[in-house]
């Protein structure tokens, strides 16, 4: 009954959607003006060659501020929801069933561990070249976040705990998110508008160019990497505890 009703309205919905989409220009005939104007002014006025990054961190940086805090809020939410679980588990007896990394051969472990270095370098490269080539704070931050995961998968648990010291990661996340807001407020302090560029633009094409775009990209990288690690950590915390007890006992 419910399904019939749903099927009928789904068909209606799709037809209505399609009727609306017929009013669009055919794919391939984008007519501007917004994107074209930004394509034209991004290099001369912001010294940023990757226009998408320039939009994300400057022209529409306010969107990204909101988006960073969506990430921030979700990570806080994940911590909030998983928190009780951890409190309970401390009271429970340790089980002999470690939900740890999947059993892997030594060669495999060495391989994953060897990937950590390149991942970090690649991530940093992407973060720092955001304004020049495809990539930026998000993408680089996400790649950076996979590095600790590699350490975890390779079974080096103590090292994993060391590189993901909760307090450090927490502070890093808050710095990234709060720093973004601070950069915005710095514009006000300089007598300009919120999120307006206040740094020298530098030479187009060099790493330290395009003023606040570069700075915000780096801050976003920190935020994203730390946020993901923080969320991952609270997921894995339980497994880690059990494994360590198993090793000690």
């Amino acid at each position: 009954m419910r399904l019939i009703l749903f099927a009928v309205s789904l068909a209606g919905f799709a037809a209505f959607f399609a009727a609306g989409a017929r009013g669009l220009r055919p794919v391939g005939h984008y007519a501007g003006p917004y994107g074209d104007v930004l394509n034209a002014i991004s290099v001369p006025e912001r010294h940023a060659t990757d226009v998408v990054t320039a939009i994300n961190f400057d022209f529409r940086g306010f969107d990204t501020l909101g988006e960073e805090f969506i990430l921030f809020g979700s990570v806080m939410g994940v911590l909030l929801i998983l928190r009780q679980q951890h409190d309970e588990l401390r009271k429970e007896n340790p089980e002999e069933d470690p939900n740890g990394p999947p059993a892997a051969s030594d060669a495999m472990r060495a391989f994953t561990l060897a990937l950590v270095g390149p991942m970090v370098i690649f991530g940093l490269y992407i973060v720092f070249h955001g304004q020049l080539t495809p990539g930026g704070g998000f993408q680089g931050g996400l790649i950076l976040a996979t590095a600790p995961l590699m350490v975890y998968l390779s079974g080096k648990l103590d090292e994993f705990k060391a590189v993901t010291s909760p307090r450090l990661v927490e502070i890093a996340e808050a710095t990234g998110a709060g720093g973004f807001a601070l950069v915005g407020l710095a514009g006000l302090a300089a007598g300009k508008n919120f999120l307006e560029n206040i740094l020298p633009l530098g030479k187009t094409g060099s790493v330290f160019s395009s003023g606040t775009i570069f700075l915000i990209s780096v801050l976003t990288g920190i935020e994203v990497a730390a946020g993901i690690v923080l969320a991952m950590q609270s997921f894995l915390e339980h497994a880690l505890e059990i494994m360590q007890r198993g090793r000690n006992g």
Binding site: Y30, G35, D50, N56, R60, D63, Q85
Partner: protein, 121 residues
């Protein structure tokens, strides 16, 4: 050839509608919260396809002016920026849904919304 181009002209939108509808169908018929989360992701990918189709320009380059001169024919960078934001939003909401689903399973032993009709008003 023009037939192919005509096809291309609407295919992006058609796929966006298709994907949205498929995601909705999946959500409504889902018997498992994890499955539902993935259907939500599918539904959300519809907006990426729609946005990028809208901003595409035949023969346009990517909006990165490192190797091409300013003023060269390029696709719309705005929809790409929007899609990027959208991807991050989707991922974070999905993370919340998955964590909540795991907690539900922990307390009730099931992931099936049908068996969880506890909220009846």
């Amino acid at each position: 050839m023009s037939g192919l181009e005509w096809l291309m002209g609407w295919m992006g939108y058609a796929v966006a509608i298709w994907v949205f509808a498929a995601g909705l169908y999946g959500i409504v018929t889902s018997r498992n919260w994890m499955h539902l989360a993935i259907c939500l992701a599918v539904m959300q990918s519809s907006t990426y396809v729609l946005l990028l189709s809208i901003g595409y320009r035949t023969g346009g380059a990517a909006p990165v002016f490192a190797d091409i001169p300013v003023g060269a024919r390029a696709v719309d960078p705005v929809v790409q920026a929007l899609t990027l934001t959208d991807i991050v939003v989707e991922a974070t909401v999905l993370a919340l849904v998955v964590v909540l689903a795991v907690q539900i399973h922990k307390h009730s032993g099931t992931l099936d919304p049908d068996k969880l009709r506890e909220l009846e008003g």
